[in-house]
């Protein structure tokens, strides 16, 4: 876990990113609690953010499945999933974030809504966005000859605690 470029200094170790995938037979989640964040603040306002999570850090509770993800996402040569904001627009407690998502070596601009709230001495930024696997050149995994859904949902909770 690392935090760079921030003033004031925050602890982001409680942050997590979760993916949800679906197959005709079942759905499952994989969570990474090793979220690397670099951010730039203007007082209490987040101005810019970059987030990185390693593919290998996602744990779905099944080693074999996680290993399969390593293989289909070519994580040995493309180990990271990154997001880097290009625009952050505030609208009350909601934020419209725009930025570049790099996944499986493909970079695409995405936009999503983030809910921001301050609780005690920490800032919480929560949101989700869809990722279409095939648009990032990912071959969908299959079970019993049936492929998983093309859409994978990414949900994140970024926690910035005052140090």
């Amino acid at each position: 876990m690392s935090v760079l470029f921030q003033a004031p200094t925050y602890d982001v170790s409680s942050s997590s990113i979760t993916y949800t995938m679906k197959h005709k037979l079942h759905a499952w989640d994989g969570t990474s609690k090793q979220v690397n964040v670099a951010s730039k603040w203007n007082g209490d306002k987040l101005e810019q953010i970059s987030v990185l999570a390693k593919v290998s850090s996602f744990n779905s509770g099944l080693s074999s499945r996680d290993s399969h993800m390593i293989e289909i996402l070519d994580a040995l040569t493309l180990p990271n999933i990154t997001f880097s904001s290009t625009s952050i627009k505030y609208n009350g407690e909601e934020i419209l974030a725009t930025g570049k998502l790099q996944f499986h070596g493909v970079t695409k601009e995405i936009q999503f809504v983030v809910k921001a709230k301050k609780e005690n001495n920490q800032w919480l930024y929560e949101g989700e966005f869809p990722v279409l696997l095939e648009s990032y050149n990912v071959e969908r995994p299959s079970l019993l000859f049936v492929k998983t859904d093309n859409m994978m949902k990414i949900k994140f909770v970024l926690v910035f605690k005052d140090k």
Partner: protein, 216 residues
């Protein structure tokens, strides 16, 4: 009288340069933030090596002292591990296909076997041939499961579907061995027929359950 505004070339050039410089900082700062994260996050060395825990059958082939230790010739560990995982994926697909074919064969064998059990000896040869076919597809399936390169991780601590799948494999493998041994004995000792049938049913039930519990 209307007079259009005229811009000099120098003014236009200055304007364009100004626009570019104003737009650059956001993107540049964003990239700089990301770059610092990326530079601190390379490939996990733990992914390049197979996990410490693996089946003895896998260790015999893919382990550091296994039969295939010099399998690709090159020293590029990342490329070698990628090839391992690709082979693993192909073998596990074949394992799935083989499992389905075997289950189908077992169902057919169950129908033929019950006719033979009732005294229809015309199907005896068919029963034997089907037994051979089921043994072959079962062996093929088992080979692809047992000798596939090890996964990237071995971090499961609780009971998972894969662990159940493996435990059930012990049961159906034992059932298959017992069924085959009893099949050779039945010709000389007809009283063993119910045991042969029971062993076959146990093999079928545990293989079918192993197939159901597995998840992607």
């Amino acid at each position: 009288m209307y007079k259009p505004i005229q811009f000099s070339k120098t003014y236009l050039l200055g304007f364009l340069v100004g626009c570019i410089f104003c737009a650059q900082p956001v993107a540049a700062q964003s990239d700089s933030l990301l770059q610092q994260l990326i530079s601190a996050n390379h490939v996990d060395s733990s992914l390049i090596q197979p996990p410490a825990k693996m089946l003895f059958t896998q260790r015999a082939l893919w382990g550091t002292s296994g039969l295939l230790k010099n399998r690709y010739g090159g020293n590029d560990l990342v490329a070698n591990r990628q090839k391992d995982l690709k082979i693993r994926r192909t073998m596990l697909k074949l394992h799935q296909i083989g499992g389905f074919v075997t289950i189908g064969g077992m169902v057919a064998q169950g129908i033929i076997g019950s006719q033979l059990y009732k005294g229809d000896y015309k199907v005896k040869d068919l029963h034997e041939n089907m037994g051979m076919a089921v043994n072959l597809t079962y062996g093929f399936t088992a080979f692809n499961g047992l000798f596939a390169p090890p996964s990237a991780f071995s971090r499961d601590k609780k009971i998972t579907s894969i662990r159940l799948h493996k435990w059930l494999a012990v049961l159906h493998l034992s059932g298959m061995i017992a069924t085959n041994i009893l099949a050779t004995q039945v010709e000389h000792n007809a009283s063993l027929k119910p045991y042969h049938r029971a062993a076959a049913y146990v093999s079928f039930a545990s293989l079918a359950t192993a197939l159901v519990v597995i998840k992607f």
